[in-house]
Amino acid sequence: MSAPVIDIRGLVTRFGSHLVHDGLDLSIPAGEVMALVGGSGSGKTTLLRQVIGLMRPQRGDIRVLGQPLFSGDLQADRVLRQRFGMLFQQGALFSALNVLENIAFPLRELRWLDRETIHDLVMIKLAMVELEPRHAWLMPAELSGGMVKRVALARALALEPELLLLDEPTAGLDPDRSAAFVSLIRRLRDQLGLSVVLVTHDIDTLSALATRVAVLGDRRILAEGTLDHVMKQDHPFIRSFFGAARHAGSAY
């Protein structure tokens, strides 16, 4: 197994008196699609925000791609942040910029690519997420929910990241769109050789995409491993989550 893309040791997070993570350890190997599951409010989004450096944990150590997020060297920190992409739950597109400018934004920030090249790269990214060139001139407010996710994914992929983080990528999409989005992510992963971490509630997404699963509960990681391995664990949450999910899964 290769070196971990994300390595979390002894993470402690608290909001006021509310303890969210207490001594959480998690190591995610490269080249895997790791699904993070857990009850609502178990701190999945918070964990993701800490991994991308939006929040600093009270205690503990997080390394991404082998490097600490806050090394003290501003340039190194910035370069590290260009090596992973995040798909936010609501897309977080810049509402004042159109689709083209949204995807071009991280490329422009590099400040060494010319306008024509950036335009070409944006068009390639649009094609990768199965959008058409004419969509490039739409504003975020004019996009459907599925399109917002695709544009946000294209923007997350703009800098050719090694690691892609997805927060509830299929939440709010209907089953058809959700399945299409999952197969899109899988295709891109194979094509680009990405490591992926995704937070999800949806068992279909999980079983279609994930090569490994980590279950978050009781303020730490309850179980981690392949889907089969995790499903065999005897814990009330795991039983109810996968039990209910098995039910829901068979309903289709």
Binding site: F94, S95, L113, I124, A127, Q191
Partner: protein, 373 residues
Amino acid sequence: MGVPTVSFEMTGAQPVAVLSGEWTLTGLRGRLDTLRRQLASADAARAGHWDLREVTRLDSLGATTLWRAWGDRLPERLEADPHTLDMLRVAAVLGPCRPAPRMRPRRGDALVALGRLGGALVAQLLGMIALSGQILFDAVRMLRFPQDAPLRELSANLYKTGVTALPITALVGFLIGVVLSYLSALQLKTFGADVFIINILGIGIIRELGPVLVAVLVAGRSGSAMTAQLGVMRVTEEIDALVTMGVPATLRLVLPKVAALVAAMPLLVLWTSASALFGGMVAAAVQLDIGFGFFLDTLPRVVPIANLYIGFGKGLAFGLVIALVACHFGLTVRPNTESLSSNTTRSVVSAITCVILVDAVFAIATRHIGMPT
């Protein structure tokens, strides 16, 4: 990490192009121009065979660079591993189209721009009139269904726009009063016309300065807040949610703001004028030895009471104008952050401009009223 390179080997009649290294965003940084030049050289044009087997990684940037260098097609004889080939095929989506060159302003455009500006002005004016009509309509409807009256919102807005504005308006009024009185006193002293300070301050502040000063402060404070609030509610679709629940947005959001500001402004004008007069009185006492008692005795004799009513009337009118302008710009925010910021700016600027315009109308309409004879 392998540096991206291209070299041309002269083996047969035609050169063979051999590429190697990391053709990626990180690998190509700082080398793109050199490589592009090499790819556009005469050797490259004659190369019959492209060998990409030594390329360790190729991403969209590498693929685009090669695709464009090859004249938007794959060369006939190309050797590469499947992964590299896949990426190159992805670049095949690129049409010959390039971004349209930036539009340069032409002569005659100024005229068009002026026309557009005029059109926009008329559109805003019409929007404002429509909003006033809607508010009137809501007010009538409220009379028929008194239980719909947004009393809580009204009281909240009265507090926000009126009560919380008291300290700042008092402070600014006091300081302006001191400054005005001090500067006038310097001039009046040279003519020995000391007592006229009371006439000047009385008429100037009560009739003109108090209302305009409050209007500018309130437009900056409450006007911008109203626009921003309504604007964010539009961006986040809260207004749509409200309307969906059958609550008319103008009744619940706009009417209380307008009513509260119309009610609060005259009182704020009274308060600020009083504070400014007090400031003037203090300065007059220091500068000209005019006692507080004498000042207060003389004031009603030299300043006809009509001036106070004019000040009140201006307060009402300015409050109406500021609230209407603020709500109009808030409701016309388009769902993006840029529009939100520009509309907030326009709201404050337009409100102050409109207030000055209305003030001019007042000056003309009341020119025979309230002047001491």
